[in-house]
């Protein structure tokens, strides 16, 4: 009863937040000067003409019209959904790949403290590499990879780049989680005379769940950001990242269209968060905290 009421109020506040954003947008468009506000040459507030800031209802209307005037063209929202799906499975692949790598790295670092000291600084450093710089390298290396008749394709580069962003929060969360068991629990396992592997499955992995889940959620969000950016820099067609750029470029002629793929990208993020939430529900048992006595 209480819980469902809390959930309902959560949905309510979320909707209110969206409504507030919409009101702010329209309010500024109504009262703001057409040419925007600038001091010297610096733009402080944007222009409010229909090309720079379309009305929300024109965006929605545009989403229900055909993408182009060509015969047989998809409706905009349908095209956006298709692009999202095309990106989503690449991002999902990157997320799974990144999570597996992150977990393995965390295991390695937990097992050998020397590995933690040697690897952890590099992991942190790896996240400072700009994705734009990474993309050509991955594509070039991928081009040399040939396993049997399988050729390296562009979506593989995208997935690899997505995993490069996704592995980090998983590795950090998992490392904290695997190191979280108390001394009493560890000594108890020692008195049972069981080795590292059995301790891992009996104690460390279950105990790591509360730390791992936020890592997985962050990793999912990172994988989507990585996919959107990588699609653009790798030149992978058909995904939402590419679509955002394409529609933005047609902005001056068709300003209402550009917002649909952005909303699509946001929805993808929400979907990913929901997916991790589902995993969290499945692992509920491991999120109980031992009450302190």
């Amino acid at each position: 009863m209480n819980r469902s009421r809390r959930r309902a109020s959560g949905v309510l506040y979320g909707a209110l937040g969206l409504l507030l954003l919409a009101v702010l947008w329209e309010l500024y468009k109504w009262v703001g000067p057409l040419t925007g506000v600038r001091i010297a040459d610096t733009v402080l507030l944007p222009k409010t003409d229909d090309r720079s800031m379309p009305h929300l209802w024109s965006m929605v209307t545009r989403a229900f019209e055909a993408t182009t005037s060509a015969a047989g063209a998809d409706i905009v929202w349908l095209a956006v959904i298709k692009a999202c799906l095309s990106s989503l499975w690449v991002a999902g692949l990157g997320w799974v790949l990144g999570s597996v790598i992150g977990l393995l790295l965390a295991l390695l670092m937990q097992r050998f403290s020397i590995a933690e000291r040697a690897v952890l600084p590099w992991l942190i450093l790896s996240q400072t590499v700009p994705l734009i710089a990474l993309a050509p390298v991955v594509v070039a290396w991928g081009g040399r990879v040939e396993i049997g008749s399988v050729e390296w394709e562009r979506w593989m580069s995208v997935a690899v780049i997505a995993s490069f962003l996704a592995f980090f929060p998983v590795a950090i969360g998992a490392l904290r989680g695997l190191s979280s068991p108390t001394q009493i629990h560890l000594e108890l396992m020692r008195t049972y005379g069981i080795g590292w592997w059995k301790t891992l499955f009996t104690l460390r992995l279950p105990a790591s769940v509360p730390y791992l889940l936020p890592g997985l959620a962050l990793g999912a969000a990172s994988a989507i950001v990585g996919t959107v950016v990588a699609e653009v820099s790798v030149g992978y067609k058909g995904g939402i990242g590419r679509m955002i750029i394409e529609y933005a470029q047609s902005g001056s002629a068709d300003p209402n269209k550009a917002y649909a793929p952005i909303v699509g990208a946001v929805l993808m993020g929400l979907f990913a968060a929901a997916l991790v939430g589902l995993i969290a529900v499945g692992l509920k048992r491991f999120r109980r905290q031992e009450s302190t006595i």
Partner: protein, 275 residues
């Protein structure tokens, strides 16, 4: 002590044990010096003393959670390591240390599960123990749904799961309130005499030590050593009930342990004790 005891192989034998901890910057702390102690099978011995007297360290050495700097320890005639690997002892700590994602029953079954006992046998043994510690209605609850006393009872049941002949307990009731504590003591003394296990019980409560033990080992700090071993003659554990707490023999034991603990001030300063 009567001599025939020497014939039975002792449960625990500690001979000339020293433990020195290396601290930072080369400093050392002598936690234990020249410890000799024998435990007969089925005997309940408490280690008591002020903080820093090494009573927990001594228990940890017996459990092979740490190794002595000098001297030897045998548990049922084996090295502590072998005894640990053979699961000769069960252990309980100050905090229950239950796995929060396992139910009461699954927590008790944990050591059995890890050592390959079949599911049916595990369930049967867990049922016995759940009944023994009086948690029949709570078998499928999780630790966060239990009070501190209940959690500690689960921990004790878990330490008994593999029918060990030795129980090592490090202040298992230290965090409980006085009423719960006394009830747990009465239960423990019954459980132990029913199972026939020897017990090393670390505590800093004098009445607790006297109520539970056949012998109380009084220790003193800096360096940790045994000051005196006091025999408590209050009858077998099964006969020890609540009314024992108001018995004259109980008070005599409490007085004896207290005097040994606080000692004759002059004696302690004289240095080497050559008894």
């Amino acid at each position: 002590m009567s001599t025939p005891l020497n014939k039975a192989p002792s449960a625990v034998s500690v001979r000339g044990v020293d433990k020195v901890f290396e601290m930072a910057k080369g400093a050392t702390v002598a936690a234990l010096t020249g410890i000799d102690l024998d435990l007969a099978p089925g005997e309940f011995v408490s280690l008591i003393g002020p903080s820093g007297c090494g009573k927990s360290t001594l228990m940890r050495l017996i459990a092979d959670l740490d190794t002595p700097t000098a001297g030897t320890i045998t548990v049922f005639g084996k090295t502590p390591q072998q005894a640990r690997l053979d699961q000769d002892y069960g252990i309980a700590f100050q905090s229950a240390g239950l796995l929060p994602w396992r139910s009461v029953q699954a927590n008790i079954e944990l050591p059995l599960e890890l050592h390959g006992v079949s599911k049916a046998d595990r369930a049967e043994r867990a049922n016995e123990l759940i009944e023994l510690v009086g948690l029949t209605d709570f078998r499928s609850r999780f630790p966060d749904q239990l009070s501190g006393g209940m959690q500690q009872r689960v921990a004790i049941a878990r330490s008994l799961a593999e029918k060990p002949n030795l129980l090592l307990m490090d202040e298992p009731f230290g965090a409980l309130d006085e009423m719960t504590r006394e009830r747990m003591q009465t239960e423990l003394v019954k459980i132990c005499s029913e199972t026939g296990a020897a017990v090393v019980f670390v505590t800093h409560s004098i009445p607790e030590a006297v109520f539970l033990s056949d012998r109380v080992v009084v220790m003193s700090p800096r360096p940790g050593q045994i000051r005196e071993i006091i025999d408590i003659d209050l009858g077998r554990g099964v006969d020890r009930g609540e009314d024992l707490r108001e018995d004259a023999g109980f008070f005599a034991g409490v007085t004896a342990v207290r005097e040994a603990l606080h000692g004759q001030p002059a004696m302690g300063k004289l240095g080497v004790d050559l008894r």
